[in-house]
């Protein structure tokens, strides 16, 4: 007997996710796309964007909605990167120095954002977005007029014959491009086998420790074996191992960092601070009554998120295919795309998990890729795909906000009704 209510609930919650899956499949069929190239691009985009999307989770749990002000973290990262280039640092060292600069800068910016957001409770989504716009003005002021005029810079990063930083900074010559991605590249198939092996070991160890039931252990082990077996089939394997085209590789260190962040997100929720995040997220009044300094907890959440987003932006820039940093626009869409991605994964304004973030990034960028390719296949130019994805990004956020507001209003009405009947 299937529980109908459960199904409708599931559908309601994951309607956007399913829509994106269906859309992507449609585009793949319509555009008659080559799956290997789609998979390769998807891998690149997933490893490039996952870190930033994961940085959104903590503020969501702390009840501050989607932190669109992560663009400010991205700006901090770009300041760090600019200084690294300015000091002629190369390769992973350069990225590490940029990350080190991002930490205090991002924390400071995050603090300022947090102070502002504490003054506009209930309007954090729009507030953080406009803060991002405002900061963009300050960023331009800094890069166009203060750098070069008041803070001397190496002439190779400034506009020739004028003041201010160049529009595009080259990352290839000093080895900053692919600095992290390029350290360790693992073939995709090996990754799958490692993953399946880890699943088997996990099932075995947990069963022996009696943490999970026999049935669950068997299912996990079975899934791992099937996964490995499927990827052993020549038909599937040839898509990935380079027999048909260029092999798909996974940037090892980047994924280690992404998994570390996932672990951080899980572990921090088990600490006292994490409990405070949850408490504040559920009800500020209750949290305040139980002696939690609500404003301080919110500040910390935003600061962590901003710094993490900055690091995510560094990963994004170093992995970007062009090998350049577009100084004045690289940060602009960060908040929009990351916010839309996490919502696509099934997160809502007040609830989000690692798996939702990863799934959302995967689906969102799958749609991104396929719509562009399908549009150029169907209409002859990719511009319409560009518009379509901008539309979907905004619409996803609008729909999530509408759902959240509806839910809130429904709850309030129900409460009033209960009060009246009681």
């Amino acid at each position: 007997m299937i529980d109908r209510k459960k199904i409708t609930d599931f559908l309601k919650k994951y309607i956007v996710t399913i829509l994106f899956l269906v859309l992507s499949l449609t585009f793949i069929i319509l555009g008659d796309l080559d799956m290997t190239s789609v998979a390769r691009d998807l891998m690149k985009r997933l490893s490039r964007n996952a870190f930033i999307v994961l940085s959104l989770i903590i503020p969501i749990v702390a009840g501050m909605g989607i932190n669109f002000a992560i663009t400010i973290g991205a700006m901090a990262a770009q300041i760090g990167l600019l200084l690294a280039i300015n000091w002629n640092l190369t390769g992973p060292v350069g990225i590490l120095v940029a990350a080190a600069i991002t930490l205090p800068l991002g924390a400071l910016f995050g603090y300022l954002v947090g102070v502002m957001l504490n003054k506009m409770k209930g309007q954090e989504t729009i507030g953080s977005m406009i803060l991002g716009y405002f900061a963009n003005g300050a960023y331009q002021l800094l890069f166009l007029y203060i750098f070069g005029n008041f803070i001397p810079l190496n002439p190779k990063v400034t506009i020739i014959g004028a003041t201010g930083v160049k529009n595009t900074l080259d990352l290839t010559t000093n080895g900053l491009a692919q600095a992290i991605d390029g350290i360790l590249r693992i073939p995709f198939l090996n990754c799958v086998y490692i993953f399946a092996g880890a699943g088997l070991v996990y099932a075995l160890v947990m069963y022996l420790l009696k943490k999970i039931t026999k049935k669950k252990a068997l299912v996990t082990a079975g899934c791992s074996v099937v996964l490995a077996a499927v990827f052993c089939l020549p038909v599937v394997a040839n898509c990935f191992n380079g027999k048909n085209s260029e092999a798909i590789t996974v940037p090892g260190i980047t994924w280690v960092l992404i998994l570390l962040l996932c672990g951080f997100n899980v572990l921090i929720m088990k600490t006292r601070l994490g409990q405070k995040f949850r408490a504040v997220g559920q009800s500020q009044t209750v949290a305040n009554a139980s002696g939690i300094n609500v404003n301080r907890v919110r500040l910390i959440a935003i600061m962590i998120s901003t710094v993490l987003a900055g690091w995510g932006q560094l990963l994004f820039i170093q992995s970007d295919g062009m090998g350049t940093l577009t100084t004045y626009s690289a940060h602009e869409q960060v908040g929009l795309y990351a916010g839309a991605a996490i919502l696509v994964g099934g997160a809502s304004i007040d609830r989000a998990t690692n798996s939702q973030a990863l799934l959302g990034t995967l689906l969102f960028h799958l749609m991104f890729l396929t719509v562009q390719k399908a549009a150029s296949a169907l209409f002859g130019d990719a511009v319409i795909g560009e518009y379509f994805r901008a539309f979907l990004s905004y619409a996803v956020i609008a729909v999530a906000l509408v759902m959240y507001a509806w839910k809130g209003n429904a709850k309030r009405k129900k409460k009033q009704k209960d009060l009246r009947t009681a």
Partner: protein, 750 residues
Amino acid sequence: MTENKTISAKKTEASRKIVSAVLFVLVAVLLVSSGLGYIVRGMDGTQVILDTMRTDAVLSTATSGLVDSIAAARRLAYSQELRKSKEFRKMGTDAYIEACDKAEAEARDEATALYSDTSGVDRAALEAAIPGIQGIQGRYNAMKEGENEVYAALYTEVVDSIGDWTEFCDANADDDALWSALCAQVETLSDNAQLRPGMIKLVKAMAEKEIAADHAQQAAQLWSSASGAVEDWTAYAEAADEELWSLILEAVPSLAENENAADFKEELLASAKLAASGEAAAEAETETVTAQTQVDYSYIVYSDQLQALEKEVNGAFTSLWDVLISGIPALSELKDKDAAALRERILDVITASEGDFAQQYTKYASCGADKKLTGFTKVKMVVASNAENLLLLGVAALLMAALFAFWKPITGKMGVSRSIILLFFICLMLAAQFYKINMSMLIGNILERVSMYGVLVLAMMPGIQCGISLNMGMTIGCVSGLFALVTSLNFNINGWAGLIFSIVVGIIVAIPLGWGYAILLNRMKGSEMTISTYVGYSFVSLMCMVWMGIPYTNPRVVNLLIGRGLRVTHSLLGNYAYILDELGSFKIWGVTVPTGGILFFLICCGLMWLFSRSKLGISMSAAGSNPRFAEASGINVDHMRILGTVLSTVLAAVGIVVYSQAFGYAQLYTAPRQLGFIAASAILIGGASVKKAKISHVIIGVILFEGVLSMGQQVANEAVSGGGLSEVMRIMISNGIILYALTQSGGEQK
């Protein structure tokens, strides 16, 4: 807790008092020194000093000109010598330039030591000669400028009206025919017969250029089809002309039949030889010489009066020059070109005395004439020359001091953000004075922008009144207006009919859209602003796809590059651009008033005011400001919110049409996305909050906001090289104001 607060409040109060006291002292110092400066200007001695400075400036200009030309000559000679020497091959470019620089500097030092002594010049004679030139030169300059202006205006008109220059080549032989043809093109030309020789010369030159360019282009085209026919031109390196020519004729059969083929023979052979010699065939310049809009004064033939005046100036200058030469004989050895350049420089110094005190002083000082001033005299002159600037600074400081001293009463009445913007406004006005920006142009610019943005800002008001706070989704209305506008262009509805059609259709489209949007907003009270922003954004992006796919076929609106979809920018020039602004437009004190646009804005404001006084309007405001109370008194809050939202959307549709006609262009796709933010910040600056708005807020807001932006733009252009600063300012002001309003509305809930 409260004690702490009062203590900190007292502390800030005290520090504010200290700051304002310091500022007031500064004000006193500035104003007193400015007054002293004005007094010094009036004293007799000052004029004498200034006259001495002028003579000094003339002398030092003469010597420095001499030194410059000697140094330049030495540099040239040295570099030529160096090129011949053996060392030259070894040294790099940098070393070469360095050596030349060194030689030049040495020569300069030598020459300065030799000629800096001007005691040989008869100062009395020089001083006597200068005033003679002053008057004539001033008249000459004014007259020349006037003639140049007439010429420039007609020149651009002629250039714009002539489409095909080759047409005017036929009239080559006969000047009269050419002139009458020109007069037929540009009517006003016949009234300016004195320009005839210049214009004819100019048009002939242009026509020649055009034909030459045309010829070159044709040759290049022929060559590009010929060059492909032979795989390896280098094989024909030794070939004779005739052989090459036959090859080319073989490659391009049509050329053989062409009777003008011989015209291109020379060019084609040259290209073939170039290819045969193995060099990459230089890309023939296919760029056509399009009519230059830059005015070329070299063709102008000045009137007889002006020429007579020029002779007079020459005579007067010669006497001055003689005085100079008798003192510094080396001047007579100058080459003609250098002497002419020096002449211009000296005349420039002399005519500076036409300007006011500050201009004179800065000019003379820049020639090095202030070096001879010592001690007190120098201080006196500097203060006197900066009297205006000191006064401006003093007033600015006074305002700051007053703001600090009366912080509480001022901000209490006007709100913090409005006081800061007002202060900024005044400071910008003072800065505009400081940079000597044309005030009437500035005011005209502000008026133009007010008429441009007015209705869009007004569209924010009903939204706030009916309780949906800042209606960032007004872009929905803007897009409807743009749709109507593009439709009018597509169906060739021009002029007033086009404008009225756009407004009416825009309203008709906006009503149902606004209705649906209002129903959506009614279902989620409390977080309208966030949702309306994203709904607006996604609607604009959705419409981007509509613009791409809309089946309009008129080439006026279709993107000709890809052959379908609408263009991004649609020019309304020659159609209904500025039609509203120019209605009844007049000029007063040099300010062009866009009467129609301003009137339209005021009429819209008046209608909205009447509406807000009506029963319906009052119930709408009641529903917005206190929904529960309104509900209790029998007002249907949801209906009122729908009414307000629809009104806001409709006004946005009208606003964008007015905006586009004032701008002269309509922009589609992502262009309207940020309009909601601009309108929101303007009304907030005017004193509205996210819950309360009045007509006065709209009017004050649009004037303050657009005033700050337009002045900021011009001041920033003067102050900082390279544009962009004004855009940064716009972003920061606009978003900063909205942020401030948000912090006020949210408040610290504990």
